[in-house]
């Protein structure tokens, strides 16, 4: 039976003001924040020396599970005007008989808390392997009860701890609580302590105490904490995010991005990427069969295949809205949602040249990027509504019965409506077929509300007919599509024939 050290912090008011990196509101609270609260509690209680071995033990443990309720970040936020501690300046003015205005010595402080449910509690659970360290656990439990705040000083908490069995942990994790676990595809980056964090905190504290004084007023800001890890966390109730290899297209001889026109050149970009992937995988010793099926797509339909997808920029406009522009990035991912090859490709393809087939000259270089790069956000988001930036090539003929020919014969209005409806149903059926081919579940295929047309649903997207497609797909109809689901679906989203080259690519709305 598994056992865990559980440290819990119950918020006494339903607000959390803590911020993560780049001063963004943080939720759940990071394990580093909990560690710092324990250190502060021990220091304030005068027991740091006794608790040190326990703190050193826990900082060296793997990152814990975080169990917490959902929280909502404030939509509005507000700014507080807080006084600088400079009333001595005003006092001098008063002593001289001058006016002296305290209001001139204020700073603005941004506040954007998370709203929590009433009586919200956050649990941090570390597995106790091979019995763990019972004395350390006991010390930490006692210290957790001395923790005063988690987050800002106004985020008062009641701390507690216990060693619990796996069954109890399962109870704590049940709805409505959510669990965040360390995961390589997690998108929630949280700071976690490592060996050396305690020492770094103590050094920072010493530097903080020496930052300034009345005797020596020069301000010496303490150095930022550096001994910690950024751990990727993912929610256990969310489907694992498909791994992707993300790249920016750079000019081969200048330090700037390389852009390609979306409608006419994205197929060429995909082709060049495929060539680069082929070379890289062959050089890495992939078998001919594996390259043929996985990279080139020749072979069994069930074998995993790579999708090599040129990504256009979506740029905001000054009057609101956004417009789709040129291809400046590439995503590589697999039909196998758990493919271990993608992480390797992200490293191996960095620096690869994209060579023009005709001239043999390099037109761009792949620079490894982060999936968190803003340029990918609309393609990797979770959203209920998606619209194509490249048209979907339907997996079949939409008019085998010659409906268009009959429409050209100018039928009656009623016949026209009937024929158009049949054409529409046929097309909708093909889009659903494309979703099925792309691996969507029957439920999601059935629930999709589908709209389609020749022109794009996003500003800047060309008519479907204008897009270059491989020769073998020219006979198939292509349309722009907008799909709405009743609940969010995660990207990347690419469907239809030619999806392995970036046709049928959707952006979230």
């Amino acid at each position: 039976m598994s056992r865990h050290l559980l440290l819990s912090f119950r918020f006494l008011a339903p607000w959390f003001h803590g911020r993560g990196d780049e001063a963004e509101p943080e939720w759940p609270p990071s394990p580093l924040r909990a560690f710092q609260a324990l250190v502060a509690a021990a220091a304030r209680a005068g027991t740091l020396a006794e608790v040190r071995p326990a703190l050193s033990w826990i900082e060296a443990q793997p990152p814990p599970l975080v169990v917490a309720p959902e929280a909502t970040v404030s939509t509005a936020g507000y700014r507080l005007s807080v006084p600088h501690n400079a009333m001595d300046v005003v006092g001098r003015q008063w002593v001289r008989g001058a006016e002296g205005n305290a209001a001139e010595h204020r700073a603005m402080k941004n506040v954007r808390p998370h709203r929590l449910p009433d009586d919200a509690v956050v649990h941090f659970a570390w597995p106790l392997v091979d019995g763990g360290n019972e004395p350390a656990a006991a010390r930490l439990i006692a210290t957790s009860r001395q923790v005063v705040a988690l987050g800002w000083g106004i985020d008062l908490v009641a701390g507690d701890g216990a060693v619990i069995e796996g069954g109890r942990l399962a109870e704590l994790r049940s709805s409505p609580m959510k669990t965040w676990e360390p995961r390589s595809d997690g998108t929630c980056l949280l700071r976690t302590p490592v060996s050396g964090t305690l020492g770094d905190l103590e050094r920072r504290h010493e530097a903080f105490l020496a930052r300034t004084s009345l005797a020596e007023p020069t301000l010496r800001p303490p150095p930022a904490l550096s001994a910690f890890a950024m751990t990727q966390y993912g929610r256990t109730d969310e489907a694992p995010r498909r791994p992707v290899a993300a790249f920016t297209l750079m000019h081969p001889t200048a330090d700037r991005m390389r852009a390609f026109e979306l409608a006419t050149r994205s197929m060429a970009v995909s082709g060049m990427v495929r060539h680069a992937v082929r070379l890289t995988t062959e050089n890495a010793g992939w078998s001919e069969e594996r390259v043929r099926t996985t990279v080139l797509g020749h072979g069994e339909n069930s074998a995993p295949r790579l999708l090599l997808v040129p990504i256009p920029s979506i740029e905001p406009r000054t009057r609101g809205g956004a417009t789709v522009t040129e291809v400046r990035r590439v995503l590589v991912f697999s039909t196998d949602e758990r493919s271990p090859e993608i992480a390797w490709l992200a490293r191996a393809l960095g620096g690869a040249e994209l060579v023009d087939e005709k001239s043999g000259k390099p037109l761009a270089v792949l620079a490894t990027a982060s999936r968190g790069d803003r340029g990918f956000s609309r393609f990797l988001a979770e959203a209920t509504t998606w619209a194509t930036v490249t048209p979907v090539v339907l997996p079949g003929l939409d008019d085998p019965g010659g409906i268009r020919a009959r429409l050209r014969q100018r039928p009656s209005a009623a016949d026209q409506r009937s024929l158009l409806a049949r054409l529409g149903r046929r097309r909708e059926g093909l889009v659903r077929k494309a979703l099925r081919h792309a691996g969507f579940t029957d439920e999601l295929v059935f629930e999709a509300q589908i709209e389609f047309r020749e022109t794009g649903f996003l500003a800047g997207v060309d008519r479907a007919a204008r897009f270059a497609v491989p020769k073998h797909l020219t006979g198939f109809p292509r349309l722009h599509v907008r799909i709405t689901w009743p609940r969010p679906v995660g990207g990347p989203l690419c469907i239809g024939r030619g999806r392995f080259s970036g046709l049928g690519l959707f952006a979230s709305l």
Partner: protein, 355 residues
């Protein structure tokens, strides 16, 4: 609630409560559907991030919550109560004289760490008190500025000693309807028509006329207050775990210190800091709904606390007597100890301008 029960919250062992929480239900003096005015906040340069105005958060289920008084603002309202006749004997009354001005330490923004008092005759005593606090002895600071330990303090200009707040309160209103209002300023007479001012088309002159009240000025769709369809709640938390971290130099001193600070905190906790918050915002207790106070334990258990202001005050007086309240002092601000109001940069600019 007996004195013994309060004291039981302070020992170092047993099943001790982590905090006491209080929820009070408020209503505008105009009545439950009365219009009242929340604070307005400044907008940021990027108004999409911080639009300013009222702070009203809307949730996905359509509910909203409006901030009426922040934690800092509530603390600034509560702390000066200890200068009132009924409570003044519980804490030392420290007043700083700077020129013709007199500032009570209870009103200083940074409390015992405020530069106005750190640059006074009390500088060394306060420095010694903060140094003692860092070393784990809060008694010297409690003798000088006990409310700094209740509401939190940071000696940011000198020793960097910090004590977290024991008490946090805020007021929020639920499910508010935001109102706007318009107004028109009309001058007492028509200055131009009466020949008292020149008629002009010059924009700068017209602006000057408006600024001085000589022209009609409309103000439309400005903030017009809110009506709360849900509760208006004041939530107060007294952090007992934080109080139990404060110590003296002996066990007896520690006991006396903690009881003294608990008494002050309970008095502040139980006296409603409501009434006139700002123009157009006068909130009182809702007579139809009793306040709820609970003891919160580390494991989440909640018991009725049953704390009354009368019991808190009696406890506080007895505890203050046992601890020994510090002496009242009026001290002079020492300009020689203060920072020059012109910074190095400003001095350079002034010198350059002279050339």
């Amino acid at each position: 609630m007996s004195e013994a029960k309060f004291e039981a919250w302070l020992s170092d062992s047993g099943a001790l409560p982590a905090a006491v929480v209080l929820r009070e239900y408020l209503t505008p003096v105009e009545g439950k559907d009365g219009v009242f005015f929340p604070p307005t906040f400044a907008a940021a340069e990027n108004s999409r991030d911080f639009p300013g105005g009222y702070n009203i958060d809307t949730f996905s289920d359509g509910r909203n919550v409006c901030l009426i008084d922040s934690v800092g603002s509530q603390a600034n309202r509560i702390e000066p109560m200890f200068a009132e006749a009924e409570y003044a004997g519980l804490v030392p009354q420290i007043v700083i004289e700077a020129g013709e001005r007199r500032i009570s330490l209870l009103e200083a923004g940074h409390r015992a760490g405020d530069a106005i008092v750190r640059c006074s005759e009390l500088q060394q005593q306060l420095k010694d008190a903060f140094v003692a606090l860092k070393a784990g002895n809060a008694v010297p600071l409690a003798k000088l500025a006990p409310t700094s330990l209740v509401f939190g303090v940071w000696d940011s200009r000198d020793t960097q000693a910090k004590a977290p707040r024991l008490l946090a309160a805020s007021i929020r209103a639920w499910d508010v309807d935001r109102l706007t209002r318009s107004a028109q300023y009309n001058p007492a007479i028509e200055y131009v028509e009466e020949g008292l001012l020149e008629e002009t088309e010059d924009k700068d002159a017209l602006k000057a006329y408006s600024e001085r009240g000589f022209r009609h000025v409309p103000a439309s769709a400005t903030h017009g207050g809110v009506i709360a369809r849900g509760d208006i709640r004041r939530e107060v938390t007294l952090q007992l775990a934080a109080l139990r971290l404060l110590r003296g130099s002996t066990p007896d001193e520690t006991k006396a210190l903690r009881e003294y600070l608990l008494g002050l905190a309970l008095v502040a906790f139980t006296r409603p800091a409501v009434g006139y918050l700002r123009q157009g915002c006068n909130l009182v207790l809702d007579g139809e709904r009793s306040p709820e106070s609970k003891l919160v334990y580390p494991n989440g258990k909640r018991d009725d606390a049953g704390v009354t202001h009368h019991a808190a005050l009696e406890f506080a007086k007895a505890a203050a007597k046992r601890f020994g309240v510090g002496e009242n002092r009026t001290v002079k601000f020492d300009a020689k100890l203060a920072k020059d109001e012109t910074t190095g940069e400003a001095k350079k600019k002034a010198k350059k301008a002279k050339k």
